[in-house]
Symmetry: C2
Subunit: 190 residues, 2 copies
Amino acid sequence: MENDIVSQKLELLRKKDEQAFNEFSGAFETGSCNKGEILIPMYKTCDRLYIVQSGIAKQFRHKEDGSEYITWFSFKGDLLVAFTSFVTQEPSKEAIKIIEDCEYISISREMCYELASKYHAVETFFRELLEIYYMQSDERLFFLQSFTAKQKYNHILKEMPHFLQRLPQKELSSFLGIKRETLSRIRKYS
Amino acid sequence: MENDIVSQKLELLRKKDEQAFNEFSGAFETGSCNKGEILIPMYKTCDRLYIVQSGIAKQFRHKEDGSEYITWFSFKGDLLVAFTSFVTQEPSKEAIKIIEDCEYISISREMCYELASKYHAVETFFRELLEIYYMQSDERLFFLQSFTAKQKYNHILKEMPHFLQRLPQKELSSFLGIKRETLSRIRKYS
DNA sequence: TTCATTAATTGACATTTGTCACACGTTTTC
DNA sequence: GAAAACGTGTGACAAATGTCAATTAATGAA
């Protein structure tokens, strides 16, 4: 068992209600996607939830000027879902594209809600995941909002060094909310 | 019954499991707080969840330079909680201050988790609230990140006019992530 | 009402970051 | 392996927003 958040919560689920765990984990299918492919297209309704087993994916939206705004990178163990579309079942304003060849497991939205409704423990599993993702979103908001370009870079350097090692600067700069030229200049002087 | 999100979800809870609803809603206490007072202080652990009945509160953090960064304003019907601290039980990095005299109801964290554990329907209530708040956070992230100062102002003007009507510009500018002088200049030319 | 405090406006200027253009090196593809 | 596509680095300049200081307007307390 891995030590990422989803795995930890799955382990809790298994301890709490083995049958729920079995039914839930049995509902996942495996799949894979190559670099450059789109896993969840823009404007399509998202009806599956993915968990990355290997590789890297990026989640992004389009700004009004057409440029890309990257909301998150997903590595091994991370969830992959166009969240708002998944919940509301409306066309997604965000898309997911594969940066490095991915293997994943996935489960249908229908099954998620069915099992959350059937098993209290599954409902708890999702509630706890949401708590964590909400806290992360909060933190990212503060980060993007209150740090200068340099501070952002240093923060990534310190807290998420794997982002620097494994992501092209083009993508990373978008994630930091700065232009690639700016990132390039910051790197030059630090 | 009101038509805000929390009320809607409470109504769903009542329909789904009347006993859960009764026990849950019976666990709330009423209270009030005057303009200028701090409801949840910085660096204190947050162990209650509040729902605003009247008035306005602001939720904020301190940036590294000491200035204030406002994360949200809460009006009638909105939740009021230092979320990360509430979940992790660590000292809060955000605080809540009253902008206009507030009446509220509140419930202890302990009771929230106890009832979520006891009643599947209460767990569902929280999971669904979290879904909505997560979507809001996502949207705010995009808003802050991809709009210019002018676009932000126009967006608020259109989508949240009550913010403009009821909040001092000083507070609003912090919420928009711009300086008060900048907001003042934008208003002048639109 | 009046004085004191706080909020909003405005101007001049500084700073940060973005934009555009192009060079250079590295992958990918046929 | 050559051509094309892509990613990165760099310079000159532009634009948006911030900073500081001074003034005016609004608000609240005695």
